[in-house]
């Protein structure tokens, strides 16, 4: 029987991680921020695939890779709707729900050009102010940003 294209991509992974349900406009941003272009492992990237939920979605499949907590935090900030599946021996053994971290160190850049973190060698820190609205507050200049405004380093 002939399998559909997306099924083929997922099935072809023996061990590794699948990031599914990525909004299509975020896919290459995620590749860049997570530095997936630097990896040696096999990577399959699909974008603008049909999705009932998102309209168009992206999928990234990486062999022999398990994301660290910090990387998952970055993913949660970039694409909170994405789903993470860990695959072992062709089977999905774990699904990870992304959730916004309570506190984000160093990952985000403050959007406020007058913030101390943009003026002097000071590491950034953001605290989650409102989980429902996805609003973070800069620990230093107290500027609030929502997920559409954040700048991930």
């Amino acid at each position: 029987m002939k399998a559909s294209h997306t099924e083929l991509i997922v099935r072809a992974l023996k061990n590794g991680t699948v990031i599914d349900h990525i909004p299509a406009d975020k896919l290459f941003k995620i590749v860049s921020i997570l530095e997936l272009d630097q990896l040696e492992q096999q990577i399959t990237i699909g974008n603008n695939l049909e999705s009932k939920k998102l309209g168009k979605k992206g999928v990234i499949k990486i062999a022999d890779k398990v994301f660290k907590a910090e990387e998952l935090n970055k993913l949660a900030l970039l694409a909170p709707s994405a789903r993470i599946n860990i695959v072992e021996n062709y089977e999905v053994v774990e699904k990870i729900d992304l959730s916004l971290p309570e506190s984000v160190h160093e990952i985000l850049q403050c959007v406020n050009p007058m913030c101390i973190t943009n003026k002097q060698p000071v590491s950034t820190r953001f605290d989650l102010l409102d989980r429902k609205r996805g609003i973070f507050k800069c620990h230093y200049c107290e500027r609030t940003v929502d997920l559409s405004e954040i700048v991930v380093k």
Partner: protein, 303 residues
């Protein structure tokens, strides 16, 4: 709550902190010269000039018997040689018991409080926070109204960039205020503060017409449109003279109405208002010394 490492933001203050500071300020007003700071040395580090705030802090310290070192302009400090804030603060921490700092960069005070070995009081960090101003505003409101609860407060002018407005708005959340926000569309109160009011069940009304709220207000909090916050001089010219309060406009206002202004004023309050008993902005500035004495002694654990 107000921590031993200083007072950086009014958002760190809980209701009990505020009430305690206001009670202490009242005591210092009755007796402004107790020698609580004998033998203490305070640094006033002003990386941008602010004569009013610096003199107020230095008066507060010296009236308590403490002594002051510092600078009033970054040009005369080592930061003009490229020293980082981190290093300046580390160095000054070695010398003094408390640092009072004004800095043009937002978040500078929070950062300083994290690297300093002594408490830091934020005397203004750019457009962000100026918590002792908020304390003196609260003290002035309580003193003139006899209470903080259930007041109608009209905030007028630059509600977009005005940090005193934002801090006062947040600090009053414990006291069931009703707000009128009077500003030109360009300087409207930012969305995050409207959300803040909604989340805290605070009633507010937005308008561009100052006259529409005068008769119902208990407090009229006037602000200056700050030229330094505008990058475009054309935008500044468009809004700078939008609101001018004149004495004749105060006819028919409530007896308990008081007019507050963080000062300096330019054109937003005509000088004919000054002699009206409802004008309170100069006494308000005087209250700053008592509020700052209260904050300093509270942080140093002397009261």
């Amino acid at each position: 709550m107000i921590k031993a490492n200083g007072l950086v933001s009014i958002t760190d203050c809980e209701k009990e902190d505020i009430l305690r500071i206001l009670d202490l300020a009242e005591q210092f007003e009755k007796n402004p010269n107790p020698h609580l700071l004998d033998g203490k040395l305070v640094a006033t580090l002003f990386f941008e000039p602010s004569t009013r705030t610096r003199l107020s802090f230095e008066t507060a310290v010296q009236r308590l018997g403490g002594r002051v070192i510092g600078f009033s302009d970054a040009a005369t400090s080592s930061s003009s040689k490229g020293e980082t804030l981190h290093d300046t603060i580390k160095m000054v921490s070695n010398y003094v018991d408390l640092i009072v700092m004004r800095h043009p960069v937002e978040g500078a005070a929070r950062y300083a409080s994290e690297v300093a070995g002594v408490p830091v009081i934020n005397a203004g960090d750019g457009a962000n926070q100026h918590p002792t101003q908020t304390m003196l505003d609260l003290y002035s409101i309580k003193k003139t109204q006899g209470r903080l609860n259930d007041l109608t407060i009209s905030m007028v002018g630059d509600l977009k960039y005005g940090r005193t407005v934002h801090s006062l708005l947040m600090a009053m959340r414990y006291f069931n205020p009703t707000y009128n926000f009077i500003a030109p569309p360009e300087l409207r109160i930012p969305e995050q503060y409207r959300i803040f009011c909604d989340d805290n069940h605070i009633k507010y009304h937005e308008d561009t017409d100052l006259n529409s709220v005068l008769k119902t207000s208990d407090i009229l909090y006037m602000t200056r449109v700050q030229q330094e916050r505008f990058t475009d001089p054309v935008e500044y010219e468009k809004v700078r003279n939008t609101y001018t309060l004149r004495n004749s406009m105060l006819d028919g206002t409530k007896d308990n109405l008081r007019i507050l202004h963080p000062l300096p004023r330019i054109t937003e309050i005509a000088t004919d208002v000054d002699s009206n008993p409802k004008a309170y902005y100069f006494e308000q500035a005087r209250n700053g010394v008592f509020a700052r004495q209260a904050v300093i002694c509270s942080i140093l654990g002397l009261v």
